[in-house]
């Protein structure tokens, strides 16, 4: 079982790491391709902050439902709306990246 887990992890890492390795061999010379590097950081920042914001929203919604179960419908409505609006911030980032990096 442990061997299988190790193998799976290694295979996963290989599958993740090989394409950049090949790419580095192909285009070794020349300047750093920032267009390929910055989207990773941009997306990481956007997803991280969105995750934090959504977690805060969800946490307080859960708390208020626990305190006042009668208002569940109204809270759920506000929560979905807020989550969607927060989520679109990360989606803007993704859309920019998608349009910029072909």
């Amino acid at each position: 079982m442990k061997r299988l887990a190790t193998f799976l992890l290694i295979a996963w890492a290989l599958a993740l790491l090989t394409p950049p390795a090949f790419a580095a061999e192909g285009g070794a010379s020349g300047a750093t391709n920032w267009v390929l590097i910055t989207p990773g950081f941009a997306m990481a920042i956007a997803s991280g902050l969105c995750g934090y914001a959504q977690a805060k929203a969800t946490a307080s919604a859960c708390e208020s439902i626990a305190r006042n179960p009668g208002a569940t419908a109204a809270i759920r409505f506000a929560l979905i709306l807020a989550l969607v609006l927060i989520e679109s911030m990360a989606l803007y980032t993704f859309a920019l990246i998608y349009l910029r990096v072909k």
Partner: protein, 271 residues
């Protein structure tokens, strides 16, 4: 992206209407990417969704009955009013008020169109038109024009444009640009939200199919025993189809909810 795989539906629609469309596009001096098939996939899929919806709802309308509502009728009524209070009719009643039913035909149609467009890619051989940016943009433009038109019809052009000046007149020079930009941002946010959500849920599936396939292939090279790993690429990415269904329904709900909020903002009485 440029070389798109043509669906069977696209070929059929192009066979039916390709020549006149090509002629029209050439007459308008627009660049045609693929002169052999001038109608792209998402356009053909839009037409298919439209045709399916019209046929289905005409068929449903003919057999509507108060005494013996069938299962289909009950399901369709759930879209309008349901116990959770998330149907289009419920939302209009809650947010706009008692005369909210006036806006139901337009908003319900857009919501249903988005719902069907999101879910139609579950059928193999078809794809979601909403995964192309121009289709959500069309829906968002319709919503944008519709709620502004509703406001103008309710309040008249002068009183409606006073809406944009804010509550206090001295602040108007600051409020006007903010209001205009925030209204235009609604257009952008509606478009990007729907488009990217559908795009991402398709990309996720492809991405994880690729990853699991790489896992399977590298395992098979190591020893024939790892052939059993074939179940991973076969069944693993199916999770993302379930996610796609969820996201599709949620985005259709959002695309019904936000227009309702915009309409209610446009027709609200000032106090």
């Amino acid at each position: 992206m440029e070389e798109q795989h043509l669906l069977l539906v696209t070929k059929l629609v192009n066979w039916l209407a390709g020549k006149p469309v090509l002629w029209l596009l050439t007459a308008l001096r627009l660049k045609v990417k693929n002169p052999e098939y001038p109608i792209p996939n998402h356009m053909a899929m839009e037409l298919l969704v439209f045709a399916l919806a019209v046929v289905f709802f005409l068929w449903l309308k003919r057999r509507l009955s108060v005494d013996r509502p069938g299962a289909t009728q009950l399901c369709a009524e759930m879209l309008l009013t349901n116990p959770m209070g998330v149907g289009a009719g419920d939302l209009l009643g809650d947010i706009v008020g008692h005369d909210g039913k006036r806006y139901l035909p337009m908003i319900g149609s857009i919501g249903l169109f988005v719902l069907l467009s999101n879910l139609i890619s579950l059928i193999p051989g078809l794809e979601s038109p909403t995964a192309q940016s121009s289709v959500p943009l069309g829906c968002a433009l319709t919503v944008f024009l519709y709620y502004n038109w509703c406001g103008i019809r309710k309040h008249g052009p002068l009183r409606y444009s006073k809406h944009f000046l804010g509550p206090v007149l001295p602040l108007a020079p600051i409020m006007l640009p903010i209001e205009i930009v925030s209204n235009l941002a609604r257009l952008l946010s509606l478009t990007v939200r729907l488009w990217v959500n559908m795009l991402v849920s398709e990309l996720l599936y492809v991405l994880f199919l690729g990853l699991t396939l790489a896992l399977f292939l590298s395992g098979r090279e190591a020893s024939p025993f790892w052939n059993i790993l074939v179940v991973v690429p076969l069944f693993g990415p199916v999770v993302f189809i379930a996610l796609h269904i969820f996201v599709g329904i949620l985005q259709a709900f959002v695309f019904t909810l936000l227009p309702i909020i915009y309409v209610s903002g446009a027709v609200a009485e000032e106090h």
